[in-house]
Amino acid sequence: MRLQINGDEHDLDVVTLKDVVKHFGLQEGLVVTEVDGAIVDRSNWKDINVQDGMKIELVHFVGGG
């Protein structure tokens, strides 16, 4: 599956958005996802089947003022 994640091409063996988050070893409670410009709530990650060419953004809180 070829996905564009945070601006870079990734070729991943995944089915759902939840798999994508898991693939990168991210702490689920701290990550927010956007798929093709729309925010996907954490509770729906397992229901979103990713498809070739999807643009996924994975964001989180970092230090800031």
Binding site: D8, L26, L30, D41, V59, V62, G65
Partner: protein, 253 residues
């Protein structure tokens, strides 16, 4: 002095909002947060670095529950700020948002028009909106009327430590607004913090002044006392300034 700061119905015992950027390490940061007694912490929202996901993550280092105030730093328009605000809210960690919109990389001066636009839209969406803005009394008033739960004028540009460049304006803002005024940005030391509080600010937001002090933990403590001193002084009511001397003792015995 015992009266508490209330923002959008939430009572806060501390009038200090603390940024979480640029500390030497998580241990010093946590210690500084603890000593400061701050209850509101600010954050930024960024893409996860997928080759080192934990590198810049922050929340795993934060120990006890705080009121999180994510910011929209990096946004150059209302549209971008709104996107970041919605992402922040989707974290499930907070519905508070510090609007920060700038097109000026050198000065990081907040864009007044885009800030007002984002404030209005997000307040209508149910966010608790705290816009960071320039120290313009008319603009601060407009932000309040647009639905801001608190307004956060800058003392001077972010990270400069130049203190309050226009105390006259800050005082006009604290006099005019009915929502809390938090002086944000540019404060460099405990003295600047005391001045902000004496001008009637309801609180201050600091990051660099503490994170980049030679001893951040000690500065956190100094700032805590400065807020207390400044607030007491404001409540006590300072004397008016006079041109000529007035003897402290009676002239004739």
């Amino acid at each position: 002095m015992t009266n508490k700061l209330t923002i959008a119905g939430k009572q806060l015992s501390s009038r200090l909002f603390l940024g979480t950027g640029r500390y030497p390490n998580p241990y010093v940061q946590n210690k500084a947060i603890e000593v400061s007694e701050a209850e509101v912490l600010t954050f930024a929202i960024r893409r996860v670095n997928l080759s080192a996901p934990d590198e810049d993550a922050i929340l795993q280092h934060i120990e006890k529950p705080f009121q999180y105030l994510p910011n929209t730093s990096g946004a150059t328009s209302a549209e971008e700020a709104i996107r970041i605000a919605r992402l922040a809210k989707a974290s499930g960690l907070s519905d508070w948002i510090k609007i920060e919109v700038s097109q000026d990389e050198k000065m990081l001066i907040p864009d007044p028009i885009e800030t007002l636009k984002a404030t209005e839209i997000l307040a209508n969406e149910g966010f608790i909106v705290l816009p960071y803005t320039s120290d313009d009394p008319a603009l601060c008033y407009r932000l309040q009327e647009a639905g801001a739960s608190a307004v956060m004028p800058g003392g001077s540009p972010i990270g400069t430590g130049l203190g309050i460049l226009n105390p006259y304006n800050i005082e006009r803002i604290t006099e005019k607004l009915t929502v809390p005024v938090i002086v944000d940005a540019g404060l460099g030391s405990a003295a600047d913090v005391t001045q902000a509080m004496e001008l009637g600010a309801d609180g201050v937001l600091l990051n660099t002044a503490i994170a980049k002090a030679r001893n951040p933990v000690m500065m956190a403590e100094a700032v805590k006392h400065a807020i207390h001193a400044g607030r007491l002084s404001y409540s006590a009511g300072r004397i008016s300034k006079k041109k000529y001397a007035t003897a402290s003792s009676p002239i004739q015995s």
